[in-house]
């Protein structure tokens, strides 16, 4: 679960280090709460996303540039990551959490704090744009 979550957050945030910190923080918090959490998996997904989103917002508030990618991104993923970065954040989030990570649409709606209807609209648009960007690139 940790691997998939990290990849999803990296795809969402565009920053593998930030993703790693968010996942680690979410797991740490979950362990701290222990039996209080009845569905740890869903809780961790939601918490990790919120931590990552919060950190991203803080960085943009502080006007920070993106950190250097100390992480070595595999060639095949570079185009995809660049395309994802060009999606608006909400569309990127639903594509990553729903299409990549297979989280149920209800959960994605809950994670983002929007209605399912909104999730679907973003999915539609996001998929269409992503497809166009990647296929244009191929051509």
């Amino acid at each position: 679960m940790g691997g998939k979550l990290w990849r999803a957050l990296t795809a969402y945030a565009g920053d593998p280090e930030l993703a790693k910190d968010a996942v680690a923080e979410a797991f740490t918090q979950a362990l701290g709460r222990g039996a209080e959490i009845r569905s740890p998996e869903a809780w961790i997904w939601r918490a990790a996303f919120r931590i990552a989103a919060g950190e991203l917002k803080q960085r943009s508030n502080r006007g920070l540039l993106e950190g250097d990618l100390a992480y070595e991104m595999p060639e095949s993923a570079k185009d995809l990551m660049a395309a994802l970065k060009r999606l608006p954040p909400r569309q990127r989030a639903v594509i990553v959490f729903h299409d990549y990570a297979d989280r149920p649409s209800d959960e994605v709606a809950g994670i983002l704090g929007v209605t399912r209807a909104t999730v679907y609209v973003h999915l539609s648009e996001g998929r269409r744009r992503l497809r166009r960007m990647l296929e244009d690139h191929d051509a």
Partner: protein, 685 residues
């Protein structure tokens, strides 16, 4: 065109860093996986436990409701028509005709025995079982081909009641046989034998998600679903001779029901769930009945010799159809037994007969007569609009659809519900997720420049007559007032407000913005939920006085998202039991307005109820994994008989979430998030 999953595949090639090192450094706990543990669902969600407790109360309450409902329906027109292909009290069975096993039907009085004409019927078709809505039959047969089990290959099939659309559901080299339908019609329990060992399995109606429930070297066969969909009775010889057991539909909580050295076979649960009929020879061969807990075993009819005496309960539980052997060299007879008088009626005799099943077997606990207005199919007609539907509402012969066009421009469209004609549109600043239909008006919550606004639009002129800044959806109009949501200062600060003549007269805190809001049984019902910091909150439903907003009841469902639909007799809901509830999947229930008791209704595979009309609760249906499969209606009182329209869409999951019912034209309208936007479904052809 590649789909999204393919495009995202390169993400899997990223090598993950060592996250655990960081976590263990933070917590000092080396054995993290053990600490966190596997995700294990609770044994029963509290929602269901509560529901079990109140089901008895519901049974007491629902009888007077049934009377009210029938009285209402008696006055309704037009005269109902039973389309072909739908049974009304038919018994299915198998028999040898001209040297071949065929599937047959006969009326309970023995008349009109007929063969079901099935093109391409495979060999040795038997064990027919009706779907709960009486439109289809599952059975097992030999498809031919090689088999891993002696005796030839055997698979499960489904066919329409009129013999059309034969579908093979299982396709393995092993034996699959003895199907049993779940009460909601979405799954089939069956027996699978791939290596000489028979075990009980469960799968979706189309064969997806097969799951093994029993796992021991003994014979485990003849599953029979309880009418409430929670248990399966079955036969096992794990303790010696074949006995009757029961287990939960996930294979746990196995309980042995019969305790004798006799042979037992073919358990069949009664429609009210209180008894089990079965074959036995404990007091001589015959048909027996016992209480659902195994007590009070009694023989109800003799059989000439030990052997299959497959009993099938009538819809109202007063009779059992069964085949009994009369004795060596005597032909078997298919007969019905009246449980009250003990008298039997022979329906067929002679030749080879087997395995009766009575249509509509898993009926409602009230023993109400089967609805003659059940329809088997819903006709659809698509209306093309270019864009996505964010919300759909209907009433008085008009349908309102909020649409996001191809150019990202949002609009409100008015459609004539009778003809499907587009009659007019109003440009909107964004795509709303809710609409509320009032008297000559429609309420549209929008976002303008990032700030919420509630628009009142004149239904005839499509002009905005009132703008109420700061309010959002969901929104409903009740009498001369409108109920809407004030988002407050941020998450957790939302309140439901009542606005009359432009002034807020009632304010009820509800925590997070509710998913849904409905007026039914003279009250306002709204979801209430509070998140607790980072932990996703759960909540329930508030029942409010429609004028004063006084909280009449607070029902704790421990759910994160709740959708509601109601009328005078009930409030139906489906709940997403969110991350901090028991499970992330949806669950369905009904609230009885007289008592505020909550009882399970339908199954978790129904969700998003959006309207009540024509005696049915209409909902957007899915198999519980978040994927929409169509628009369905389930009968209000019993929650069992279901009719569905399979609405095609380029992406089934995204098709047809917002939906509405127009009582005037008896049509259903659904929006889609891709492709054809609005679909009109006639509730009865």
């Amino acid at each position: 065109m590649r789909d999204a999953k393919d495009l995202l595949q390169p993400l899997d090639e990223m090598a993950e860093p060592d996250i655990w090192a960081e976590v263990s450094a933070a917590t000092g706990d080396r054995d993290l996986h053990a600490g966190l543990g596997p995700v294990r669902p609770r044994s029963a969600p509290p929602f269901r436990r509560r529901a079990v407790i109140t089901l008895a109360a519901l049974a007491v309450v629902i009888v007077p409701f049934a009377g009210l409902w029938l009285a209402f329906r008696a006055g309704s027109s037009p005269e109902p028509r039973v389309p072909s292909g739908v049974s009304a009290e038919l018994i299915a069975y198998s028999a040898v005709v001209d040297g071949r096993w065929e599937l047959m039907t006969v009326h309970p009085d023995g008349t009109s025995a007929a063969m079901i004409p099935i093109a391409g019927l495979p060999e040795n078709a038997t064990h027919p079982v009706w779907s709960p809505d009486g439109t289809r039959i599952a059975f097992d047969a030999n498809p031919g081909g090689t088999s891993s089990v002696e005796g030839g290959n055997r698979d499960i099939y489904v066919v329409n009641a009129d013999g059309s659309e034969l579908t093979r559901v299982t396709n393995s080299a092993g034996w699959e046989y003895l199907p049993s339908w779940s009460p909601d019609g979405s799954r089939i329990a069956f027996v699978r034998n791939t290596d000489g060992n028979d075990d009980i399995w469960i799968m979706d109606l189309n064969g997806d998600h097969p799951r093994r429930l029993t796992d021991d070297p003994s014979l485990d066969i003849s599953p029979s679903w309880s009418p409430d969909g929670t248990r399966l009775a079955f036969i096992s010889n794990r303790d010696g001779s074949p006995e009757i057991y029961a287990m939960d539909v996930d294979g746990t909580s196995v309980v042995r029901l019969t305790h004798d050295d006799a042979y037992e076979g073919h358990p069949a649960w009664s429609p009210d769930g209180t008894s089990v009929a079965f074959a036995s020879d404990v007091e001589g061969p015959g048909l027996y009945v016992m209480d659902a807990d195994g007590a009070n075993v009694r023989k109800v009819a003799p059989s000439g010799q030990v052997g299959p005496v497959e009993g099938a309960w009538s819809v109202d539980g007063s009779a059992i159809a069964f085949v009994s052997a009369q004795g060596t060299d005597l032909p078997p007879i298919l007969q019905t037994l009246d449980l009250a008088t003990g008298s039997t009626t022979t329906l067929r005799s002679g030749g080879e007969l087997c395995c009766p099943d009575w249509s509509g077997q898993q009926g409602s606990p009230t023993a109400a007569p089967k609805d003659p207005r059940v329809v088997a199919t819903l006709a659809t007609r698509a209306i093309g609009l270019d864009g996505y539907a964010g919300a759909v509402a209907a009433g008085d012969g008009t349908v309102w659809v909020a649409v996001l066009g191809a150019n990202q421009d949002a609009s409100l469209q008015r459609i004539d519900a009778a003809t499907g004609d587009l009659e007019g549109s109003l440009a909107l600043p964004n795509l709303p997720s809710f609409l509320g239909v009032g008297d000559g008006t429609v309420w549209v919550p929008v976002m303008r420049g990032g700030a919420p606004e509630l628009l009142e639009v004149d239904a005839a002129t499509l002009e905005v007559t009132t703008t109420l800044p700061g309010f959002t959806g969901p929104v409903i109009a009740v009498g001369g007032a409108v109920w809407a949501v004030d988002g407050g200062l941020g998450p957790g600060d939302a309140s439901l407000v009542r606005i009359e003549d432009g002034a807020v007269t009632v304010r009820v805190p509800v925590g997070e913005t509710p998913f849904d809001l409905v007026e039914a049984a003279g009250s306002i019902w709204v979801q209430e939920r509070r998140d607790e910091g980072d932990v996703a909150g759960t909540g329930g439903v508030l029942r409010l006085d429609p004028t004063t907003g006084q909280v009449l009841a607070r029902l704790d469902l421990r759910a994160a998202g709740i959708w509601l639909a109601g009328d005078d007799t009930g409030v139906w809901l489906s709940a997403w039991l969110g991350p901090d509830g028991a499970t992330s999947s949806a669950s369905s229930a009904v609230i009885v307005p007289d008592t505020n008791a909550i009882a399970p209704f339908g199954s978790i595979y129904n969700f998003r109820p959006f309207a009540v009309g024509d005696g049915r609760v209409w909902f957007v249906a899915g198999p519980g994994d978040g994927k929409v499969h169509g628009i369905c209606g389930i009968d209000e009182m019993g929650g069992v008989s279901t009719v569905c329209a399979d609405v095609d869409g380029p992406d089934l999951e995204m098709a047809h979430d917002p939906a509405a019912f127009d009582p005037l034209t008896q049509t259903l309208w659904t929006g889609s998030y891709a492709g054809k936007v609005v679909t009109r479904i006639e509730a009865r052809p």
